[in-house]
């Protein structure tokens, strides 16, 4: 059974067609990258996968079920682009709060928060308020908040956006480690090097339509492109839909 299946999914916001007959599938334990220019429909696709937005037409299955089902939603975590942390909660408290929200009891939530603080290398900043954390540290806290429920499917929109080189690399290593643990990962990013490093499969979306999908090497060979950037630019230039 595939982790995620989208079949002919369209989404319309009033007169605006955000997604047009998009279809792809992601296997369990696979890392999948969704790339496309701004406004292409990446965020809408991610929201549909998480069950936060319903498609206007088409079929969406996550682990074989409707993602709006609360049992399935408890196995998914999302990190939106530009997400912020709670300014008046410490790094530890933010993670602990999400652990409680995800249904963990008090002692399990405390243990989980401690564990994630250690894994994310946040020990030095565990008692700092969100407002005082740097952008990179905020991103780490947010990833911690996403991991409290030990999700089977992790959806990350621009996970390393705004991070310095070292922090971005640490996050990428963490994501690869999560995939090696068997978690399914969907990443949306503008960073082609990151995509090449993390993703086993990619999909290029442009103006709401899926224009290419497959393993990066195979796509490069099929389209005769030397790099993902060249492939991306070729497939998303004006007029190509």
């Amino acid at each position: 059974m595939s982790a995620v299946v989208l079949q002919n999914v369209s989404k319309r916001f009033g007169s605006f067609l955000a997604l047009n007959e998009v279809s792809f599938s992601i296997e369990k334990g696979e890392s999948f990258a969704l790339i496309g220019p701004n406004g292409a429909g990446k965020t809408t696709t991610l929201r549909i996968v998480c069950g936060l937005v319903k498609p206007s037409s088409g079929l969406v299955k996550v682990f074989g079920e409707d993602p709006s089902n609360s049992r399935i939603r408890s196995q998914i975590s999302i990190l939106p682009e530009d997400a912020g942390v709670y300014e008046k909660l410490t790094a530890w408290e933010s993670i602990y709060y999400y652990a409680l929200l995800r249904g963990l009891d008090k002692s399990s939530a405390e243990q989980k928060a401690e564990e994630l603080i250690r894994v994310l290398d946040l020990q030095q900043k565990r008692n700092e308020y969100g407002v005082k954390l740097s952008k990179g540290l905020k991103r780490k806290v947010l990833i911690g908040m996403c991991l409290v429920n030990d999700p089977k499917l992790l959806v990350l929109d621009e996970p390393t956006d705004g991070l310095d080189v070292r922090s971005a690399r640490n996050v990428r290593e963490l994501l690869k480690a999560l995939v090696s643990e068997g978690k399914t990962l969907i990443v949306s990013s503008h960073n082609m090097l990151e995509i090449q490093d993390v993703a086993q499969k990619i999909a290029i979306i442009n103006k709401g339509k899926l224009v290419a999908e497959g393993e990066p090497d195979r796509l490069l060979a099929n389209y005769g492109a030397r790099s993902l950037e060249e492939l991306f630019l070729g497939l998303t230039e004006e007029g190509v839909t």
């Binding site: 605006f16 936060l52 997400a83 912020g84 008046k88 999400y98 409680l100 929200l101 009891d105 908040m145």
Partner: protein, 502 residues
């Protein structure tokens, strides 16, 4: 732990950690009002109320009513300064008042004691008051109280001389027995001051108007900080989320409302402290049970207000946009409570009464009226049920609105004003667009055209007006290249546009 409790604890923790804001909403009203009271009191008592007296009375037959009047005036206020002018010049006394050196000028005539000792004679006292001066008014009140005491005493003695022992009955042919039930309010509250009638409306106004926008920061702030999406996915119960957030902001709002109300009462009591009882407004005494019930009504009122704000700002994408809804929320209690500051609900016209019953604040007012002034009847139970029902309805509505995906995707409009949508087309990049409308003056069609102009740059937009009252199919046939608008018949579209490929 339940979702509402987790959210409530976390939000309350965040609110209490914002020390500056917390001090502003709780301690500041207390300090500010107290400081105002102390300053007013200082102005009324510590700086003496100066009464310039021209006393021409030298007494008559071992009595000196002039001196007695001065002594009474001095005893009525601890800080009354009687300035007796050496020369009998009233115009000099009035000049002192005009210059601000005295607050009131009083002239006691030379025949004052003589006239009061003779049954057939009357006398006149002349007062000079400075208009618009609070201390001058206070001085006037003090002198009037003293004169009234002397006048009553003299009248009694005159009648006694004429009629013997029946003087009291002659002076007071009608005895007025004022029955003030103790306690006046059902729950041991005494609010017998002539101004107590405006207390319920004042308390509702103060509780509603303070921190009206806290929920905006709590709910729309999650959107603005981009934490809402994660939160909605992580929270199993939308009801728990909204309940927890509303409860947390209501706790702070109630604290703030209590601080404001207590501060206001402090101001009044501090202002008049040290002044004679006859010139001080009666204080409000509240039993512990009444205080508890007042706080409960405050909590219900504050919760209702926060939820109305939440409903109105549900589609706002940022706090700035959401704050627009606050104006509407603030005007509702103002509209409903303002007339009640001057008259009772039942003295309003019938239509106004019906309107008032539509607003939740009216039920808060009626409940507070029962608690503070009484009497309490079974109707109060109905009012309490109505207020609670209102609260639950608003909670249900907020949960419903926050369950819609447009909360995340940004509907871009507020609840009370839904932006008309452009008819659907897949040709947005076309260079030419014609709007077809059945009416020349159609506000919605104009608005759609305006929206199109704002949304599509480099597109020529034309308006085509065709015969009015055309049925949709005829309208469509009149312009066969036009795009089809879904739900055309259902929503009675005001305009649709025709796209010509450039």
């Amino acid at each position: 732990m339940s979702t509402w409790l987790v959210v409530f604890k976390k939000d309350l923790k965040e609110l209490f950690r914002n020390r500056k804001a917390l001090l502003m909403v709780t301690v500041l009203p207390l300090l500010l009002f107290s400081a105002m009271g102390v300053l007013s009191n200082y102005s009324l008592t510590k700086t003496p109320t100066v009464i310039a007296v021209v006393n021409e009375d030298t007494g008559y037959a071992n009595t000196n009513y002039g001196a007695k009047l001065i002594s009474l005036i001095q005893n009525l206020g601890s800080s009354v300064d009687v300035l007796i002018l050496n020369e009998p010049n009233f115009s000099l006394a009035t000049k002192l008042v005009q210059n601000g050196e005295a607050n009131l000028a009083l002239e006691i005539p030379s025949n004052f004691s003589l006239a009061l000792n003779h049954t057939a004679l009357t006398t006149s006292i002349v007062l000079f008051v400075k208009p618009g001066d609070a201390k001058s008014q206070l001085a006037n009140q003090i002198v009037s109280t003293a004169l009234s005491q002397i006048s009553s005493q003299v009248a009694y003695e005159r009648v006694k001389r004429l009629a013997g022992q029946n003087a009291t009955n002659i002076i007071n042919p009608i005895r007025v027995l004022v029955y003030v039930p103790k306690p006046t309010g059902f729950f041991g509250t005494t609010a017998s001051s002539p101004y107590s009638g405006l207390l319920p409306a004042l308390i509702v106004l103060l509780s509603v108007e303070t921190n009206i926008g806290l929920i905006v920061d709590s709910l729309v702030g999650e959107k603005e900080r981009k934490t809402l999406e994660m939160l909605l996915l992580a929270t199993p119960s939308r009801l728990g989320l909204i309940t927890g957030k509303t409860l947390a902001v209501s706790v702070v709002s109630v604290l703030s409302a209590i601080a404001t109300i207590v501060g206001l009462f402090l101001e009044v009591s501090l202002t008049f402290s040290g002044l004679a009882a006859s010139i001080t407004p009666q204080s409000l005494r509240v039993s512990p049970l009444a205080a508890l019930l007042i706080v409960l009504v405050l909590a219900l009122t504050v919760g209702t207000t926060q939820l109305i704000t939440a409903v109105l700002s549900a589609y706002a994408t940022n706090t700035k946009e959401a704050n627009a809804s606050i104006g509407i929320v603030m005007s509702l209690p103002l509209i409903s409570m303002y007339p009640l500051l001057f008259s009772s609900l039942y003295s309003l016209p019938q239509a106004a009464q019906y309107f008032m019953y539509l607003l939740p604040f009216t039920y808060s007012y009626l409940l507070l009226y029962g608690i503070l002034i009484g009497p309490v009847s079974l109707f109060d139970l109905i009012y309490a049920i109505a207020l609670i029902a209102y609260l639950f309805f608003l909670l249900w509505l907020t949960v419903k609105l926050y369950g819609r995906e447009s909360v995340i995707t940004g509907g871009g409009s507020t609840f009370w004003f839904k932006r008309p949508r452009l008819p659907q087309s897949s040709h947005h990049n076309s260079e030419d667009m014609t709007f077809v409308t059945g009416q020349k003056r159609n506000a919605k069609a104009h608005f759609l055209i305006l929206l199109a102009r704002m949304n599509f740059d480099h597109v020529t937009i034309r308006k085509l007006v065709i015969k009015p009252n055309l049925c949709p199919s005829k309208l469509y046939r009149a312009s066969p290249n036009s795009c089809v608008f879904k739900g055309f018949k259902k929503f009675r579209v005001n305009a649709f546009y025709d796209v010509h490929h450039g």
